[in-house]
Subunit: 164 residues, 2 copies
C-alpha cells in the first residue's frame, strides 16, 4: 500500500522525471538509499510505469493532432479489432469507450497527407465500419501528471471517511 512518503515521492518525480535520487532524498530529508528502495518498490509494483520524454510534436514535423471515433464489428465486450488498430504507427492512444462508437483514438500526423495515410491504414483493418475524425486546432493543456489527491493511502482513506 502507498503511504504518504510514497505520495510525496510521486508528486516530486511527476514534476521532474529526471531528478537525481540524491536530490529527491534531500527534499524528503531522508538518506538516498532509503529513497531509492522506495522508488524501486514503486517501479516493481507497477505504480511507476515508466520514464518518458515529452517532445514538441511540431519540432519533429507532426503538426497535426487528431482524434478519431471508430465503429467496429467487435462483439459486445470484445476489443480484438481495437488491438489491431493500436498497432498502427502514429496512433498514440486507443480507448475502448461506451457509446455509439466503440473506440476513441488519438494520433499525430504531419499534415493532411499523414491523415490520409492513417485513414487508409485504419480502413484496411477488417471490421472497421465507420469513423468520425476530429481535427485539433490547438492544444491548451497536455500533461501526464496525475492528481494524487485521491491516492489510496491509509491517511487519505481516513480523511475521505471523515469528509462523508
Amino acid at each position: 500500500m502507498i503511504d504518504d512518503i510514497d505520495l510525496e515521492i510521486l508528486n516530486i518525480i511527476q514534476n521532474n522525471g529526471k531528478i537525481a535520487n540524491a536530490e529527491l532524498a534531500r527534499r524528503l530529508g531522508m538518506a538516498p538509499s532509503g529513497v531509492l528502495e522506495r522508488v524501486k518498490k514503486l517501479e516493481k509494483d507497477g505504480v511507476i510505469v515508466g520514464y518518458e520524454v515529452r517532445l514538441d510534436p511540431k519540432a519533429v514535423g507532426l503538426a497535426l493532432t487528431i482524434f478519431m471515433h471508430l465503429k467496429t464489428a467487435d462483439a459486445v465486450g470484445c476489443t480484438a479489432i481495437g488491438r489491431e488498430v493500436a498497432k498502427i504507427d502514429g496512433i498514440q492512444e486507443v480507448h475502448w469507450i461506451a457509446g455509439e462508437y466503440n473506440y476513441l483514438i488519438k494520433a499525430r500526423v504531419n499534415s493532411t497527407d499523414g491523415l490520409t495515410a492513417l485513414m487508409k491504414s485504419i480502413g484496411a483493418i477488417p471490421g472497421v465500419q465507420d469513423s468520425r475524425t476530429t481535427l485539433v486546432l490547438g492544444t491548451l493543456k497536455e500533461e501526464q501528471r496525475l492528481d494524487t489527491a485521491f491516492a489510496e493511502t491509509k491517511q487519505n482513506q481516513k480523511k475521505l471517511k471523515k469528509d462523508t
Copy 2:
C-alpha cells in the same frame, strides 16, 4: 535543424527517459560530451519539452478515464473559456477542436463521484453551454512516443522528395 543523429537520440530517449548520458553516448558511438551538447540544444530549442514519469492511474486511485466534449460561448477563434477549463485539477488535456463542440478534454477521476465533482467545476465556468461525456471502458494503448519518421531533417526532406 534536426539531423539524423538528433533523431536517433530522440528515438532512444523516447524509449527510456532516464537513460544515462554516458550510456546514450555508447549506443551512438560518440563521446558523452558531444551527446550532452546535442541534448542540451534539443532542450533549449524546445524539441525536448520535459521529462515525465508515467504512473498507473489505478494505483493512485484514479480508475476512471473520461473524455468530454464541450460547447462554449467563446467567439470564433477565441479560446478564453478553454483556458479557464484547463486550470481545473484532474483535467490532463484540453484541445481546441473543429466541429460542433469547441473543446475536447481528457480527465482522470477516481469514480463517478470524481466525475460529478469535475462536471460541477466545469459547469461553474461562465460560458460553458453544453457537454457530452465519454466513459473509457478500457485503454488498449496509451503512449507519449512520437513517430519521428516525418521529422524535418535534411535527409528526410531528400527522401520525401524522392518518394514523390
